[in-house]
């Protein structure tokens, strides 16, 4: 058991991170020791990280050397709001120190450089001359693994400055690519991106409260006001937005996020507010205000130019805009996979020929759907159901079938329509709708390509009650081991 973290007083007594617990207790007999719960700490730390989005929208937790402890903020273009980079750094650190946390920080042009300086240099702000400042730091400041560090020490390379100008291929062969990647990232020769935890937004309106609020109705009322302000600002810029995010900053430094999407760029404040009302109805157990919410921010992402909307005297209003708003409201209340549109796919396998895509996400299709001469059923079952069929071999139409434990006798049939295998898609599973229904016994459809096994013969069969079914046989007699019959659709 080793020490993972020590506070100032323990460090003053000579304890360091990584020391075995027995040695530590020997050094300091009256030591207070707690066992770390890593998952809990990681979670709390990432919640805490979200709170920093009120300083900069791009916040991320660096998990290179541990799941918690390193917070990266991209402050490009934000520092002037705080009075400069140095002022911003000191303010953020002071804010955390008042909460009782031990903090160091650094601002640098690259993530790797900032990390190195924060951990191994002092708290500082670096504009240029990063190479010179990094040179005297130990190689562990490059976020290398323990094995790599030890290897470098054995070679006598203890400072970052000693790595400058070395033979890269030798280093790569000995230590792997990650060493060179980290070095280049720290010096700025390679790009390192951070993945922001919260959605990136381009414009926001914010309201702070003197007293924290908690009820969802009060939150929604504030959202209405903020939506009006946001719409006003978007109107002045001639823009509309498609993604709206609501950030609720709690008093205990956690953030709740709600997002809604619109099918087309909009700045209609009433519509935006209504979308959030519907979204809130879908929340159920997720809304937890804790000790209260003290800041609410409504942000807009995916901005696009949106001119003045006018309905001219001679234009016919085909209602597309009101339909889009209807779909937005339904999506925000029922979920993104609930409102679907049929999209035609260029495939001759029937269940692949159409795809159900969310209306919000679908792009406008310019081409007309392909015209298929053969009749197609009105209803398609998401999973074809296996049936027992009597039919004359090799390819006569079915005479009788048993489906869902009921027998049907056919009086008319037409077919077969032979649909071959798409050999370029062999092995891929076929799915008609998003959420997969439970697996139907009788074989899967993700089988390797085999023409005799997988060619289908489709029949339209009408029974004595007038019901018309779309039935297929998978596998050709003589070429397949056991041809199977399935019912895939029902005609009108």
């Amino acid at each position: 058991m080793r020490l993972v973290a020590v506070d100032e007083r323990a460090a003053a007594e000579g304890l360091i991170v990584g020391m075995p617990l027995a040695d530590a207790k020997g050094l300091v007999p009256h030591l207070t020791v707690r066992e770390i719960d890593r998952a809990y700490t990681a979670r709390v730390f990432s919640d805490f990280a979200d709170w920093h989005s009120n300083a900069s929208p791009l916040v991320s937790v660096l998990t290179d050397l541990g799941e918690w402890g390193d917070l990266v903020l991209d402050i490009t273009g934000v520092s002037h709001l705080f009075g400069g980079e140095a002022a911003m750094l000191s303010r953020l650190m002071a804010r955390l120190e008042t909460l009782g946390l031990a903090v160091t920080g650094a601002i640098a042009p690259t993530i790797g450089g900032a990390w190195a300086l924060a951990h191994y240099g002092g708290a500082q702000v670096v504009e240029d001359g990063l190479n010179a400042l990094l040179a005297p730091l130990p190689v562990a400041a490059l976020r290398l693994t323990a094995a790599q560090c030890e290897g470098l020490h054995q070679l006598g390379l203890k400072r970052i400055g000693q790595l400058y100008g070395r033979d890269r291929r030798g280093l790569q062969a000995r230590f792997g690519e990650s060493l060179l990647a980290k070095l280049d990232q720290a010096l700025g020769y390679a790009e390192e991106r951070l993945v922001p935890r919260l959605p990136v937004t381009e414009l926001y309106m914010e309201r702070r409260f003197a007293e924290p609020i908690g009820l969802i109705d009060d939150v929604l009322m504030t959202v209405r006001d903020l939506a009006l302000q946001l719409a006003d600002r978007l109107g002045r810029d001639g823009q509309g937005a498609q993604a709206f995010h609501l950030f609720l900053y709690r008093v205990d430094h956690k953030v709740m996020t709600l997002s809604v999407n619109a099918a087309r760029a909009t700045r209609d404040a009433a519509h935006i507010a209504r979308l959030f009302v519907h979204r809130a109805e879908r929340l159920e157990g997720e809304y937890d205000a804790g000790f209260g919410i003290d800041t609410i921010r409504l942000a807009a992402g995916s901005l696009a130019a949106l001119g003045e909307t006018q309905i001219g005297a001679f234009e016919t209003d085909d209602g597309a805009a009101s339909l889009d708003q209807l779909y937005d409201r339904m999506t925000s209340r029922l979920g993104p996979l609930a409102v679907l549109r049929t999209e035609m796919v260029d495939s001759h396998i029937p269940e692949r020929a159409v795809r159900l895509t969310p209306v919000i996400a679908s792009t406008v299709q310019a081409d007309a759907p392909p015209v298929i001469a053969a009749p197609r059923p009105l209803r398609l079952l998401p999973q074809p159901e296996p049936i027992n069929v009597l039919a004359e071999v090799p390819d006569a139409p079915p005479v009788q079938m048993v489906w869902r434990r009921v027998t049907y006798r056919f009086v008319k049939a037409s077919g077969p329509e032979r649909i071959g295998v798409e050999w370029w898609q062999a092995g891929q599973p076929l799915a008609l709708t998003g959420p997969a229904p439970p697996a139907v016994p009788g074989g899967s459809f993700a089988e390797p390509y085999s023409e005799g096994e997988q060619t289908r013969d489709y029949y339209i069969a009408e029974d004595d009650g007038g019901r018309r079914f779309w039935i297929f046989r998978q596998g050709l007699f003589g070429l397949a081991a056991a041809p199977r019959w399935y019912l895939q659709g029902v005609f009108a």
Partner: protein
């Protein structure tokens, strides 16, 4: 005076009996122009009943046909609402098969909800949109939430907004509802196309209007039977009585030798 009152009551009773005795579908020799056979006004709530989910194709076909007749330039969209749990039992509308009903697959939007409350909410939201022509709701099993109050609410909203709602249900019993029209659809053997007398032809249904009346439209039923219609691309077409058993030459099942390979499956098949 009491005698007058009794006389008046008797007259009223006779009038009511006369009205109730008239069948909903009355006799005529010709179809009505400017609306077509079985065309209904806008903004009404329909209930389309089929006996079992096996007849689901016919019921949905009728509902989509009616919805297609209601599309116009200012109202281009038709919505189909279903609960996700019913998808495998009933099936989903297939885009490539909608052309027969005058619907562009890009115009039909499918809405899959988790429960009956959300389904009713979705129907109400869709009615409020002025670009929706009709909403077809496909409900496989009876629900407690579909009571008289819910149907009255939907019919009032539909009348106010001008969008029709067609609720497709599968049951033999009828519940009280405020729907203005109640149809019962069952499939009927179709007339085979001229080039192949063993193939199925145009969809053919037996349509009974159990509740409501289509004013000004007189539909054939001389013997008091239900109406049998074909659905062609351009609307409903009445089927004459002598043509009812389409392909009467072939009422027996198709004959053919049964392969020995299927012999072991016969016991399950019968």
């Amino acid at each position: 005076m009491p005698g007058d009152k009794h006389a008046k009551l008797d007259t009223l009773r006779q009038q009511i009996t006369a009205i109730a005795a008239q069948p909903a579908l009355r006799d005529t020799a010709h179809t009505v122009v400017g609306g077509g056979l079985l065309a209904t006004p806008r903004g009404v709530l329909h209930e389309v009943y089929a006996d079992t989910p096996r007849d689901g194709g016919a019921a949905l076909g009728f509902a989509l046909a009616q919805a297609g007749l209601l599309i116009e330039s200012g109202r281009p969209a038709v919505l189909y609402v279903q609960m996700s749990a019913d998808a495998q039992e009933l099936g989903l509308p297939y885009g490539l098969g909608l052309g027969l009903f005058g619907l562009d697959p890009r115009q039909l939007v499918l809405i899959r909800t988790a429960g009956i409350a959300e389904l009713l909410w979705a129907i109400e939201e869709a009615i409020a949109c002025r670009a929706v022509a009709a909403i077809v709701a496909d409900i496989a099993h009876p629900h407690k939430a579909l009571d008289f109050t819910a149907s009255r609410r939907l019919s009032l909203r539909a009348a106010a907004a001008g969008a029709s709602v067609l609720m497709v249900r599968y049951a033999r019993d009828r519940e009280t509802s405020a729907a203005r029209y109640r149809w019962r659809i069952s499939p009927v053997q179709s007339r085979p196309p001229p080039f192949d007398d063993r193939a199925p032809g145009l969809p053919r249904w037996q349509v009974t209007l159990e509740k409501g009346s289509l004013d000004g439209q007189h539909i054939v039923s001389p013997e008091g039977e239900a109406l049998v219609v074909d659905w062609t691309r351009h609307g409903f077409a009445r089927v004459a009585a002598d043509d009812r058993t389409g392909g009467a030459r072939r009422t027996a099942p198709l004959s053919g030798a049964i392969s020995a390979a299927l012999g072991d499956g016969l016991s399950q098949a019968s």
